[in-house]
Symmetry: C2
DNA sequence: TGAAAAAGTGAAACCACTTTCACAAATGTA
DNA sequence: TACATTTGTGAAAGTGGTTTCACTTTTTCA
């Protein structure tokens, strides 16, 4: 009697599941978690509300999957950039730029994934994602510091600051009318900011007391 | 017949209003907007739920007031620091440090005010607050650039990045167990990061192509 | 003091959503 | 085809909050 799903059926189910995740991601990208009600997700995915609960035990679980799915992909891209040859500075710049450019295409999405608060359950997942995420940046930082290219600094803080810096710089323009042209200078400006922040030889030139390590 | 409120009554009403705002702020500080339901606010303020609606037409309006109230105060402090004599670097550092220290005492509050999304109405108010806010940082940046102390850069982007950088660096430790000791190094590390980011003489020393303005 | 107005109350209406469930449709086995 | 089992449906129940409102209490003013 053992019930056996035909390969076709299996595929269709997997397809539905994926379409649900995609729909959720799309809606989040459009208007944050607020926009992504279960009903809307179902509608976009072409299923009934109830069907969602055959694939995910709860809305939170769905969101967690959407989140970790996106982060996994993003991390892979970044890790790839980081692992290429070149100076730490170059690689950091490339990573920041790549991240920023993609975030700029879906600022709501980036915001939701990085900053927008949600159920404790989702929040917990995000903490893990962030760690995984900032770890990538910390890797270059460590390498740069080890090679003497970057000055001594807290990689934890710098990693967080980098993420924060471009999140803020990218996400804020969402609210007012995002001017097309502005983007052109925006990304390089952010990249420069981050590069200076981690790579500057010491603190300020003039009045500041010198730091030593 | 014109009804006239006695001074005593007037004072009591003003007092209630203020207590409502305070209660809301306190609850937000404790657990973000999530925690600050109208019922809770009323309870903490020692009033009935309905009474709140005599002082504020809606929850959103209350939040807007809480927000702008806090930002006004914070901006005043920062503007004060910025206006003191000294190098741009020194003043920027002082401002960032001051902000960071206060934010660290109520990270949830800082987070809610800077990042946590809310009703469109509140969100709109936040945009105004942010502008007012980043304006302060931009002032020092402009001064520093004018005097040649800082390199040429987009003050808009740098301003946003500074706010973002320390928001992220400060807010993230909220979720995991915030270690007491960590704070000691945290603030200087953030200050250094920001100072390097805006004050570094140019981009990186080695491999990077030179920028010209 | 008494009448009119305002302030305060809290239970209930309301709202926007998530989640469930009795049922219908489709799929697999014989 | 008949029957078990799984998948899909959407109306309805449940949830957690905001907002309203008939009412009580307090304040103002004659």
């Amino acid at each position: 009697m053992a019930y056996q799903r035909s390969p076709l059926m299996q595929e269709r189910l997997a397809d539905n599941r994926q379409r649900i995740v995609q729909s959720a991601r799309g809606l989040i990208a459009k208007g944050g978690f607020r926009e992504a009600s279960v009903t809307s997700v179902a509608q976009v995915a072409g299923l009934s509300t109830g069907a969602i609960y055959r694939y995910f035990p709860s809305k939170a679980d769905l969101f967690v999957e959407v989140l970790s799915d996106a982060v996994r992909r993003e991390c892979a891209i970044l890790r790839d950039i980081i692992d290429r040859p070149g100076s730490a500075d170059e690689r950091l710049r490339a990573a920041v730029e790549s991240f920023a450019r993609r975030a700029l295409q879906g600022p709501h999405l980036a915001y939701a994934f990085i900053a927008e608060p949600a159920d404790p359950e989702v929040e917990a997942a995000r903490i893990l994602c962030r760690q995984e995420f900032s770890e990538v940046f910390k890797t270059v930082l460590r390498q740069g510091i080890a090679s003497g290219e970057f000055p001594q600094q807290s990689v934890d803080v710098s990693g967080a600051c980098i993420v924060g810096a471009f999140t803020e710089a990218l996400v804020r323009p969402v609210a007012p009318t995002t001017k097309r042209g502005a983007d052109e200078q925006l990304v390089p400006a952010i990249v420069d900011f981050c590069a200076r922040a981690v790579a500057a030889p010491a603190t300020s030139p003039g009045t500041q007391k010198k730091r030593r390590k």
